[in-house]
């Protein structure tokens, strides 16, 4: 089959599905969408005092590759610093999951979601970072 086992695994057993308290000052929430297919993806991070992402949750309404991409994104950001998390590129997700070309936008969505969550956290913590 053209799709990697990893994709199918992430699709069938998505990791870190759920929500973190939005109002928690340590939580950053990113909400992004892909208009082609109407997918919406919510990705949340919880950042500890040393600036490390200690938890991440997501909820995605969309196709299998969108779910797999966001599932993978939450796995990857956990344990990373914000700077490290910002370095995750959609191409990394494409490579890891072997996404077909028609589904590359799903990986873009996941990258955008990480960025949006970090931006939201930063907004809560002022311009100090």
């Amino acid at each position: 089959m053209a799709y990697s086992d990893k994709v199918i695994d992430h699709y069938n057993n998505p990791r870190n599905v759920g929500a973190l308290p939005k109002e928690d000052p340590n939580v950053g929430t990113g909400l992004v969408g892909a208009p082609e297919c109407g997918d919406v993806m919510k990705l949340q991070i919880k950042v500890n005092d040393s600036g490390v992402i200690e938890d991440a949750k997501f909820k995605t309404f969309g196709c299998g590759s969108a779910i797999a991409s966001s599932s993978l994104a939450t796995e990857w950001v956990k344990g990373k610093t914000l700077t490290e998390a910002l370095a995750i590129k959609n191409t990394d997700i494409v490579k890891e999951l072997s996404l077909p070309p028609v589904k590359i936008h799903c990986s873009v969505l996941a990258e955008d979601a990480i960025k949006a969550a970090i931006t939201d956290w930063k907004k809560k913590h002022g311009p100090k970072d």
């Binding site: 909400l31 992004v32 969408g33 892909a34 208009p35 082609e36 297919c37 109407g38 919406v40 919510k42 909820k59 309404f61 969505l109 955008d112």
Partner: protein, 177 residues
């Protein structure tokens, strides 16, 4: 040959459906493979290809949303998700969560009806917006507006499509569940 050319139309969005249908029938009579069953194989193949193109064009152009989507692809525009307002995304996310309840069979009839009405109202608002922007495009084309002005309006059309696509998807999902 693009779909507009198939019908001998300029790239405008205000299309009279009755005229489109009439042309569709006329062209079908000209190209349909039924009239080429005794022709040499090459002509037969050509008739099938041409009719397929005609049918694809008619299917696309007669539909007000598909028509705009097609126009945008002709100019290399793609729906861009990053410009969709957060407020709309939040709303879409919430509706999706309600839809999840409906799909799981946990919603009451009243809840489903209210959700349906909510989505329909939004879709109708987008339809009106799209129609207005489509007419504006035609005006720009007819008045020979500058390239940048046209590009800007195409971007606007892409934006409306992006926003409305979420709602249309929701409506389709609700119909299915």
């Amino acid at each position: 040959m693009d779909y507009f050319e198939v019908f001998g139309l300029p790239r405008i969005l205000g299309i009279d459906l009755a005229v489109l249908e009439k042309t569709f029938h006329e062209l079908s009579r000209k190209y349909h493979p039924d009239y080429f069953s005794t022709a040499p194989p090459a002509e037969k193949t050509q008739a099938v290809r041409m009719t397929a193109l005609l049918n694809d064009a008619y299917r696309t152009l007669r539909h007000p949303v598909r028509r705009v989507e097609y126009l945008l692809t002709l100019y290399g525009f793609k729906a861009d998700g990053s410009k969709v307002p957060q407020a709309l995304l939040t709303e879409v996310f919430e509706i999706n969560e309600q839809l999840e309840e409906v799909k799981a069979g946990r919603a009451s009839v009243e809840e489903i009806d209210s959700l349906r009405a909510q989505i329909k109202e939004k879709r109708e608002r987008f339809d009106a917006e799209l129609q207005e922007a489509s007419l504006r495009w035609d005006e720009l084309v007819k008045s020979g507006a500058s390239e940048p002005a046209r590009k800007e309006h195409l971007a606007r059309l892409a934006e409306i499509l992006s926003e409305s696509s979420y709602i249309r998807n929701l409506e389709r999902d609700l119909d299915k569940s």
